[in-house]
Amino acid sequence: VTDLRARQPKAIHSALTVLEEVARVGAGVTAKEISENLGLARATAYRLLNLLVQDEYLVRMPDLKGFALGRKVAELVGRVAPSRPPQAAREIMMQLRENSRGGIHLVRYDAASLRVIDIDPDFPLSDEARIIRELDSSAMGLLLLAELVLTGQRPRTSFRPAEAALEEILETTNRLGFASVAGRDEGLGCLSVPIRDSQGVLVAGLCYSGPRTRIDSPAALVEVLTSSGRALAPLLA
């Protein structure tokens, strides 16, 4: 710890950012990925990681490359109850699900990450970890990426800015006001509409996942989701 003393407040900030990044990307993230995602100098990132391993907030995986959150992190953060959306919001979600012919999920956005706060019990998400980790893999992630691009922020993800195709997709998303993605399984896909607060800040997303037919001609679906989203906005903002 001694070599960090001079810049301690900054170091603590960076250490927490590193923990946050490991939490966001998930177990197995490497030192190189962390330094690149956070824009930290490599030597600094490696030193921080080794300090966090020393204090057992992080654990080195058996390949010695990857990192995972240590059990001690639970002491740092405390047992946080899952943030369930309020009852009024859950009722809107139930109504929406009654005749949706697919899964309806609610996600929340903060800063540069998303978390799924209400998963459709009848159509659970296929791979929640991937949705959180790879923002360009789902409609809910694309909404966040498009927003970050719009506000000129650097997305901290596996997002590869060189990919022209992705840039185009994000532009389309911003133009249309919703995002859609074809699923890995044939004939499935997902579509998300944004939920914004009164200042227009993206706070949540309402997502449909199911048969592609409803996504290929989205007008009706977007209409339903947008109107429910408007009702949800004051409850979530």
Binding site: R24, M61, V80
Partner: protein, 499 residues
């Protein structure tokens, strides 16, 4: 903190972690920083070295001895910081043997392991012989001539061997506590003696000893290389990686701290002994036991008694620490199938590598007893043992330094300075090893050099034959204390499941 909060409240499952560490059986995460520190300090045996090494160094380097000791310290700091590249990232009972496997693969790892077994084994024998000899010297204060009796020394060595067996078997905690007490006491006595000496001397510094004018480079280098032998063993805290609490913090700190503390002690001890003799108008190499002679000359003869007791204690501590590290290397080799599986077993109650202790300690005791009985003289036997051990340690250090760049590259954490330090250390140590072997083969202790070369080549040939018979077994080399599901969030939900 959102992603963190989510990770805590709904940990996503982490794959690829077992329920048990490959080195389960040792008492995991049970000892604190002081225990780890005392392991390294005792293996170095600074008080025994501070009374013997200055004489050895001064015999070749003369007035540049202080500088030679300082140079050795800097080289050992380079090695320590390189070993710590591993110690910060993995905890292994096999210490350098296991570390090397992560950089240079099974073959180099075996050579390093063999070197560590020889190094720790010979240092342990050296120390048992030393403990017996100095206890006999202590006895001769009351019964003149006692130290001349080979039978008495042999008996005392056997007794110390028995004690070592019980302390090692009983558990690492007992052995480190005993050694800490013993070593603190003996370093304290040395410091009292040094301050007594320097107080009589007056406050002025003799700059001619600190910045010598006419230094012969060759003599200086050989002096520095000899001084390295005073540091070997500093890395042995790494062998407690599995048993230490917060190992990635405590072990590097113990390794680095040991080199700094013992290095400073040696510098002060060398300076004060040189000053002491030049004040008397004598040369330090005219004396066979300089600190005792100084104590007598300065009228503190009673200190000689204390000194013999403290050196005997320091040797015993060194035997305990070297034995502790040795049996853990053997334990790792047993777990990997390189040695019979019994070596990898642990005592059900004491959680120590009992079988390895049962095999190793009697050998460590018998060799010096037989050597003394054969009439080679205790001092001759000790000099032979230390030459072999020192060469073996330096070999293992070279390999671990060479392994660091590859290891860091493999895990994607390569940066400039650690690599620069590792390369510098590897090159300097290689030069040191060659210088040392050449210098020693010209002395009466050349049998130590022969023993080193013979043991290393015999061991390597055996290994080559072994890999031919079990081509797949070599992939098991490099077992270390991998994290278990209980260590990470989302590994195993209830840690009590694995207990």
């Amino acid at each position: 903190m959102s992603a963190l909060e989510r990770a805590v409240s709904h940990p996503s499952p982490v794959e690829g972690l077992g329920a048990r560490s490959p080195v389960a059986g040792l008492r995991r995460r049970s000892i604190g920083f002081l225990d780890v520190l005392s392991q390294s300090v005792s293996a170095v045996a600074p008080s025994a070295a501070a009374t013997t090494i200055p004489l050895m160094v001064a015999a070749v380097a003369g007035k540049s001895s202080v500088l030679a000791v300082a140079a050795a310290m800097i080289l050992c700091l380079l090695v320590a910081s390189t070993v710590n590249q591993f110690a910060r990232r993995m905890s292994a009972a096999g210490s350098l043997y296991t570390f090397v496997s992560k950089g240079l693969g099974a073959g180099a790892s075996f050579v390093a392991g063999l070197a560590m077994v020889i190094g720790y084994g010979f240092i342990a024998m050296f120390s048992l012989a030393g403990a017996g000899f100095y206890l006999a010297t202590l006895a001769s204060h009351f019964w003149p001539g006692a130290s001349e009796s080979g039978l008495l020394v042999s008996l005392l060595v056997a007794l110390m061997g028995l004690l070592t067996f019980f302390v090692l078997a009983r558990g690492v905690r007992l052995s480190t506590r005993v050694t800490l007490l013993v070593e603190t006491g003996s370093v304290g006595i040395i410091l009292v003696l040094i301050s007594a000496l320097l107080t009589r001397q007056g406050p002025q510094l003799d700059w001619g000893l600190i910045v010598p004018r006419d230094t012969d480079l060759g003599d200086f280098v050989i002096g520095a290389v000899l001084a390295i032998t005073a540091f070997v063993g500093f890395e042995s805290a790494a062998s407690l990686g599995v048993e230490a609490r917060r190992p990635f913090a405590n072990i590097p700190r113990a390794i680095f701290g040991t080199v700094v503390a013992s290095g400073l002690l040696y510098i002060v001890a060398t300076y004060s002994q040189l000053v002491g003799f030049s004040f008397l108008g004598r040369s330090i190499d005219s004396s066979s036991s300089p600190v005792n002679d100084l104590a007598t000359a300065y009228g503190v003869e009673w200190a000689g008694l204390l000194l013999d007791a403290s050196i005997a204690a320091s040797f015993l501590a060194c035997a305990l620490a070297s034995g502790t590290a040795l049996v853990r290397v053997l334990f790792s080799m047993g777990r990997e199938g390189l040695l019979p599986a019994s070596f990898g077993s642990t005592h059900s109650r004491f959680s120590t590598p009992f079988f390895a202790i049962l095999v190793a300690v009697p050998i460590l005791t018998a060799v010096p007893v037989v050597a003394i009985a054969l009439g080679s003289g205790v001092r001759g036997a000790m000099a032979f043992l230390i030459v072999t051990a020192a060469a073996a340690f330096v070999t293992a250090y070279i390999l671990v330094c060479a392994a660091v760049p590859v290891f860091l590259w493999r895990i994607g954490e390569l940066t400039v300075w650690p690599v620069a330090r590792a390369v510098a250390a590897a090159l300097l140590l290689s030069g040191a090893l060659i210088t040392y072997l050449l210098a020693e083969s010209g002395t009466e202790y050349s049998s130590g050099v022969v023993a080193f070369l013979l043991l290393m080549s015999l061991g390597t040939l055996t290994y080559a034959a072994w890999t031919k018979r079990h081509p797949r077994r070599r992939h098991t080399i490099g077992l270390y204390d991998e994290p278990t599901g209980a260590d990470v969030l989302g590994g195993i939900h209830d840690p009590s499941e694995v207990r």
